[in-house]
Amino acid sequence: MTVTEPIVRPGPDAPPPAPRPPEETRVALRRVAPDDIGVALGAAVAGASFAWVLYGRILPVSGWQGYLITAYASFLLLYAIATRMRLDRVAASDRVAGAVISTGAALMVGTVATVIGYVFVKGFGRMLHADFFTATQRHFSALSADGVAVGAAHAVVGTFEQMGIAIVLSVPLGVIAAIYMNEVGGRFAGVVRVVVEAMTAIPSVVAGLFVYAFFVISLGQGFCGLAAGLALSVEMMPVVTRATEVVLRLVPNGLREASLALGAGEFRTLWNVVLPTARSGLVTAVILGCARVVGETAPVLLVAGGSAGMNWNPFSGVQNSLPYFIWVNYKSPSDELNSLAWGAGVALLLIVLVLFTLARLIGGRAPGESGRRKRRRATAVAKSLTPEPTS
């Protein structure tokens, strides 16, 4: 039923029609209004100038740190006053809180960028120098003549070998333990979970101390790369287990039930359904575990020592590694070793960055989502299976 209003012709005396309400616009919560930006910029300039006046004359501060703090405080004050003059109290406190919160994010990004940028500027050139990856410290001491080849090849080799040992030891154990906790379950699984949680709390230096006292001293194995690998895997195993468990929990239960309903056994279900579904997440878990331990210094410092020359054999003799190399050389009186330490820092950061990017590329997908190549193949198969439409 519709109600039709009688059409009334506005006579000369009729009241004017009610004004239509203005078009409603969608509120963009995450956008900053241009006039806010203008006021903020003005307040920033005013704050900087105001602090410049305050700074040398009145306040008991000196150095750029003091200036920055004064300038930021005066910026906030002026911004609050200027916004309060334009808007009500509630809106003004919103703008000021927004400014403070954005500053926090900027500080965090600034810290990361400064750390990574500074290390790269100091060490990148040295790392690109050919000797870095080919020579060792064997023929070099602080008083060597110029032109003696010196590099960190021994440290690079040691880092990769120790990482490899840690991966071989901790990844299978960690992943299978996570499978047990999530797929088999039971009361005992809860005990394992609690203990794994507890072991993530173990400080890396304590893990290193354990391997040092037990493996290096008590068993009399001496310093070696294997001991470093053991210490790193003590660190890495709980990380891998926890991350794997999270990934396995993300696999939808419906998939498992469908597989079981079709008559597959538990192992078949795990092997053909759960693990393929969680593959990208599993790879990410392992890679992030590696990134976590590759820069651990304290354990390798305690148990692997550091050789000056190349030691390919991780099972006997001291073995250098990139973190240890930095630890020994960053305060070295020799400029050459000093700059090599920065180069080693860049190499370490590069390894972390590569691992991190890999993890992002692989782990960017939800469980079960396939990559571009797999999708293309699936489309091709589907096309070949569909009969050609006959006209």
Binding site: V27, L29, R30, G63, V90, A91, S93, D94, A97, I101, S102, G104, A105, L107, M108, T111, V112, T114, I116, Y118, L173, G174, I176, A177, Y180, V184, A189, V192, V196, A198, M199, A201, I202, P203, S204, V205, V206, A207, F210, A213, V234, M237, G265, E266, F267, L270, A291, G295, E296, T297, A298, L302, P323, W327, Y330, A341, G345, L349, V352, R360
Partner: protein, 338 residues
């Protein structure tokens, strides 16, 4: 041929009872179960063995030291007098300084990511936080030693001159009003704490970001519909809902700060004095004790170090357990349906 009554719900003698479920596992399934169970037992055994070994080795040292372990400042295991009073205080002070610097930055950054950042920036910032967590601590250490330390010395000096009425900023060893004392402000607990804060920020930030992101959207929209500003939404919905997780994240950061080793060992000048004065260049941490003293390879020294490591482990374990409980509680059963 008479069929038994298969389905007769109307009949009075029909009793509905659940079917018995019988699982018949294949041989492969049994093997799978026993293999995974065996590996889990192995992992559990390894982890318990580590804890047990620490406890066993440490307890013999604790027996020798007695209560002196908690009240003694010197570290001379060979003569039987050693204790962690000064080191424990130093560890906690470094962690507190780190939290004071890190928590405001981490929480505001987490709020920015969840509430303010445009969609595209959000992913980028999240990656940045994860990357910050992945940077090795030795990198933060050399950065702290060469870059932060020289910049923080004037700050230390300013604190010492202007805030010396607070006991923690007091200086006893040097005359701060004199010129040419800047270098004596280096290697302090304060500077170590600031360097450690760079490692606390990402942990604290990523946990609180996750928790803030789970604030119920219905209530956020309700607050907006009632005329709240973004800050109003944060204060009325996001922070109250995320409080438990936020505190949990801060405590996880505290656990990391307590166990941090190499960055502190690079900055600090090692001594075991007991002092609350963070600018005074006194005091050190348990983890740097282990790194700097492990070379004394006689049995007593090692077991004394084990006891110190055990004390550190117990401390971080307690902090992490409380944090884990807080974070888990904030995640479960708090979503609202609208």
């Amino acid at each position: 041929m008479a069929h038994p009554p298969v389905f007769a719900p109307e009949s009075p003698e029909f009793i509905d009872s659940p079917r018995r479920i019988v699982v018949r596992r294949t041989r492969a399934d049994h093997a799978f179960r026993w293999t995974t169970r065996g590996v889990a037992i192995l992992v559990l055994g390894l982890l318990v063995a580590i804890g047990g070994y620490l406890l066993y080795q440490g307890s013999s040292a604790l027996d020798r030291a007695g209560w002196g372990f908690l009240t003694e400042d010197v570290w001379e295991p060979k003569s039987g007098t050693f204790g962690v009073r000064g080191l424990l205080t130093g560890t906690i002070l470094v962690a507190i300084v780190a939290l004071v610097v890190a928590v405001p930055i981490a929480l505001t950054a987490a709020l920015y990511i969840t509430e303010f950042a445009p969609r595209r920036l959000r992913g980028l910032l999240t990656s940045t936080v994860d990357l910050m967590a992945a940077v090795p601590s030795i990198i933060y250490g050399i950065f702290g030693f060469f870059v932060l330390q020289p910049q923080l010395i004037p700050v230390s000096r300013w604190l010492a001159v202007n805030l010396d009425f607070l006991p923690i900023f007091e200086i006893r060893t040097i005359d701060v009003k004199a010129r040419f004392v800047d270098s004596q402000f280096s290697s302090s607990l304060f500077i170590s704490g600031v360097v450690v804060s760079t490692m606390v920020i990402p942990i604290c930030c990523s946990v609180s970001r996750e928790v803030f992101g789970q604030a119920p959207p219905g209530e956020k929209e309700g607050a907006l519909a009632l005329g709240a500003t973004r800050w109003g939404v944060i204060r009325a919905v996001v922070l109250p809902f995320g409080r438990g997780g936020m505190i949990g994240g801060i405590m996880l950061g505290l656990g990391r700060a307590l166990g941090e080793t190499i960055a502190v060992a690079m900055i600090i000048s090692f001594n075991t004095d007991f002092s609350f004065r963070i600018l005074d260049g006194q005091g050190s941490t348990i983890s740097s004790l282990i790194v700097l003293k492990y070379g004394e390879a006689d049995t007593e020294s090692i077991s004394a170090l084990m006891a110190a490591g055990l004390a550190l482990f117990v401390l971080t374990l307690a902090v992490n357990t409380v944090a884990g409980v807080l974070v888990a509680r904030s995640r479960s059963g708090k979503s609202t349906e609208i």
